[in-house]
Amino acid sequence: MNSQRFMIIPFISFLAACTSTTVVLLPDSDGNVGQVEMITDSGTTVLNKAYESSEAEKQKLSSTPNVLLSKEIVRDKYGDILAKEPLIPEHFKFYFKTGKADLQAEAQEMLLKSKARIEERKSCDLSVIGHTDRVENDDLNYLLSMVRAANVAKALVDLGIPLNCMDIRYYGESYPVIPTLDDVAEPLNRRVEIEIR
């Protein structure tokens, strides 16, 4: 048994020495490119261009320069895994009158579109998320965002979407699309968003 252990230890350390990490930065579904900070034994490198790639090998003291790959190379090399990604989440928005939580007339068309997408995606993984603008105080807006979200959720349930497929979230005035001063009415912030995952 002892002689076998002697054989295994050098083999394991050989594997560890060969460990490397490759990172490739890709544009997101909207074409936006963010950035990745890569911290290794040899320092920190930042990737911020589409298809930029960097490699970190174990116990390497000098850093390797980043490489700019092409879309085609990435597709050839990582096509298999990229083909298995889940569908990108989709969003539908509903807008409200100041201080009101009832759905507007145009909401019906958006509800039917949402229902169609939920069914096409066979999704049982939805969030209904309520928000307000900054007219009125925080506490009231929190309640208002809740009722807005609940009304949209109920409309979906009325169309046959199971309640157990959705969660209802509400954040009052905390997460505006357009930041404003307090007590400012902003129609784009008075909204409920459906996220279909």
Binding site: L26, D28, S29, E37, M38, I81, P86, T98, A101, C124
Partner: protein
Amino acid sequence: MIRWGTLTVRQGAGRIILLTLLLFSSEGFSSTERIGLVKTLEPSATIVRKGVEVSLKVGSEIYEGDTILTDSDGTIGITFSDGSMLTAGSSSKVIIDNYLFNLTEKKLTFLSQVLKGSVTFMSGAINKLAPGSVRFKTPTATLGLRGTKIIIEVD
């Protein structure tokens, strides 16, 4: 138990009229809440949760602390509650160490380890609202994300 209602607010003098109040139970934000769902799976994958290996199917729930394992021909795609997506290719081992998506208390964290194999990750709301709070550790690097999509490959 859910009771639906409407709420009307009259503005102007600051007087408020509450017509009907709505009551429903909130799920709360406990650590046992699911953080994601399996969306794609070929042909199989497993997770190790609290020391027990469980096989997955499309629709299976993912929890904080789960270790995701694929074999030599497996792939799995997961969508998280913040809308981010993680896909693991063949012979992969990924641990979701810490996932916090609590907008009410503004607690946003997403820390994972890719120990072997390949992963693609597309950012969701956690990254959008708290840039830099999504991090991946590998045996040779720590990666901090700000928006975007990445591929990570560990050989």
